[in-house]
């Protein structure tokens, strides 16, 4: 009957078709029957229809109208204060004393309890004191490597692990039905790369944990979880947005290249976009920020700023180069400490010294530190497995 008219429809056509909208908006029986019948007659259209359903669902979402976190918090405070006043007026003198006690607890209780509320899905992960790269499969099997590795998944979920020079180290058939994620742990002093089943490519910096599925779901978003720093080139797939979740924010994209630095122990976290557009969702409100090509979003506590930057300064680490412009020495030292897995000790007087230049990380660490002492007024010495840096006023 009417089926033939829809055979050539794309997702956008469906999402603007009155009969399709009638089904989504009002869920009438007639339309429900029609579209289920259509789907079983034309299963090849299921992807388009699923996408159309998502488009219609999202079309009325308006993120520009909302209360900010501050507005909500001050509203709750106002509310509690007003209730407080009202109750005090009503009660007798002796009774009011106990009410005050209760209300003071009430005033503080919600705020104390807040983080708990938001973190019920809390997971505490394993330690990474190890010096070896670890790959933990969804089955619970664990393989360790004492060199930098390249992990590649093909579309069917087979895993091949190679070392830097291309030597095969491990081959594995994964369990496609597994719900749990695989975990790749790259300790300080090591780097690795990962090719995901959908073709997206990830470079993983030192001291980073990545969690990812062997095969992504055909219909849902593609989601990975990280703590640390990665550079990722996402394979374009209009139907399945790619999500990178970090402890403090999430990045949603369709097909772009960008760098995420989100070490949970760092005060500043940033997302730098090399190509395309990403959306960063952060805070309890899941506030949405768009970051365009050649822009960087920096997050410090709850402040986010977006600036134009030279992207290469933030992505060059994957080529073994560290380039920086007027960067506080503190940040450079943190990166080097992770890269070489060495413990650094320094006083705060050298933290804010600004440096510009380029360091070649494939040199050994002594060479790199010698170079630092040449360009900035510091000197270093080695004691008890620690590198001690000191301000040197003579320079």
């Amino acid at each position: 009957m009417k089926f033939c008219q829809y055979v050539t429809y794309t997702a956008v056509d469906f999402s603007t078709d009155p009969f399709f909208l009638e089904w989504r908006w009002f869920q009438t029986e007639e339309t429900a029957q029609f579209w289920t019948a259509f789907l079983s007659a034309h299963p090849e259209k299921s992807d388009e229809i699923l996408l159309a359903i998502k488009i219609v669902a999202l079309s009325f979402v308006d993120e520009t109208i909302s209360f900010s976190k501050q507005e909500k918090e001050s509203a709750i405070k106002k509310l509690t204060a007003k209730v407080h006043r009202n109750k005090r007026r009503k009660r007798s003198a002796i009774y009011s004393l106990s009410t005050v006690v209760i209300l003071v607890t009430l005033l503080f209780f919600p705020f104390r309890n807040r983080p708990h509320l938001l973190q019920t899905d809390e997971k505490t992960f394993v330690e990474i004191p190890e010096k070896e790269v670890q790959l933990i499969f969804s089955t619970g099997n664990r393989v360790t490597f004492n060199e930098d590795i390249q992990v590649a998944y093909d579309t069917t979920g087979n895993i091949v692990v190679q070392n830097e020079s291309g030597k095969m180290l491990e081959k594995h058939k994964s369990d496609e039905t597994a719900v749990t994620l695989n975990r790749l742990i790259v300790p300080k002093g090591k780097r690795s790369s990962l090719l995901l089943a959908d073709g997206s490519r990830i470079w993983i910096n030192s001291g980073t944990i990545v969690e990812f599925p062997s095969v992504f779901s055909k219909t849902d978003e593609r989601k990975i979880i990280i703590d640390g720093e990665i550079y990722i080139e996402v394979e374009k797939d209009m139907q399945r947005p790619f999500l990178v979740a970090t402890p403090h924010f999430e990045v949603a994209v369709l097909g772009t290249k960008f760098n995420v630095s989100a070490y949970s122990e760092d005060a500043v976290q940033h997302v730098t976009v090399a190509e395309g557009l990403v959306s960063v969702l952060s805070g309890e409100e899941k506030k949405n920020n768009f970051v365009k090509q050649n822009q960087q979003l920096r997050m410090m506590e709850n402040n986010t700023t977006i600036n134009n930057v030279d992207v290469y300064n933030y992505t060059s680490w994957k080529e073994g180069i560290l380039r920086f412009e007027s960067e506080p020495l503190k940040n450079i030292l943190t990166r080097l400490s992770r890269y070489y897995d060495i413990h650094l000790d320094y006083e705060s007087d050298i933290e804010e010294i600004r440096c510009s230049g380029k360091l070649f990380l494939f040199d050994d660490w002594q060479t790199v530190f010698n170079n630092i002492t040449k360009v900035s007024p510091v000197e270093y010495s080695v004691t008890n497995n620690e590198v001690v840096l000191r301000y040197n006023s003579k320079k």
Binding site: T28, I209, M238
Partner: protein, 198 residues
């Protein structure tokens, strides 16, 4: 720093407190037991629904400042008699109708000074979030086409779409909100369907 652990939160708001409340409502424990939880619960409900209420009010054509006050009033009432929570079955429906009543009252009290316009129900496609799914040109196409369909409809019809589709309310609930019988809500729907099919 040789220990390394991390936590993350999911996209969804945890609903366990909500669940606790539902269990509480069924078991009807003593009010004393519920006291501290109450405050948390009201805060939780505020967090959860304040934006929904704001959006609904904005779509009815009210200013953000007016709505902020109205929402404050509703929650104040809830704080003063939290035992009300025990009787509420559909929280979202309760809050929506409380907001509507509150806004009507505000309208009445200011009517002396302001000429009352018939409030419009503004439902239109926003493209903020669509870019994750489709290209920019397709986005504008979807926006134009759906908005054109919505323009044909009456305010009431748009409001029914909003409540039914976005908030998944039943015809009974929509009827309660719009002061109509469920049958006449269905009627509104059929008329809307006829209009968009043309």
């Amino acid at each position: 720093m040789d220990k390394h652990s991390f936590t993350y939160t999911t996209m969804e708001y945890p609903a366990d407190l909500f669940l606790k409340w539902k269990i509480y409502r069924q078991e009807k424990k003593s009010v004393e037991n519920f006291r501290v939880d109450d405050q948390n619960l009201i805060q939780f409900i505020y967090d959860q629904y304040a934006n929904d209420l704001l959006l609904y009010g904005m779509k009815m054509g009210y200013q953000k400042e007016v709505l902020e006050d109205a929402i404050h009033d509703i929650f104040y009432k809830l704080c003063l008699s939290p035992q009300m929570l025990k009787q509420i079955n559909e929280l979202k429906f309760y809050l929506f109708s409380a907001l509507k009543n509150r806004l009507l009252n505000i309208n009445k009290s200011t009517a002396r000074y302001v000429t009352t316009d018939i409030p419009e129900f503004n439902l239109s496609v926003k493209t903020d979030s669509l870019h994750l799914l489709i290209e920019a040109e397709e986005e504008t196409r979807v926006k134009e086409k759906i908005n054109k369909l919505l323009e044909v409809l009456s305010d009431k019809q748009r409001e029914v779409i909003y409540l039914r589709f976005i908030h998944e309310m039943t015809y009974d609930e929509i009827g309660g909100l719009l002061k109509m019988t469920p049958a006449s809500v269905k009627n509104v729907v059929y008329k809307a369907i006829n209009k968009i099919r043309k």
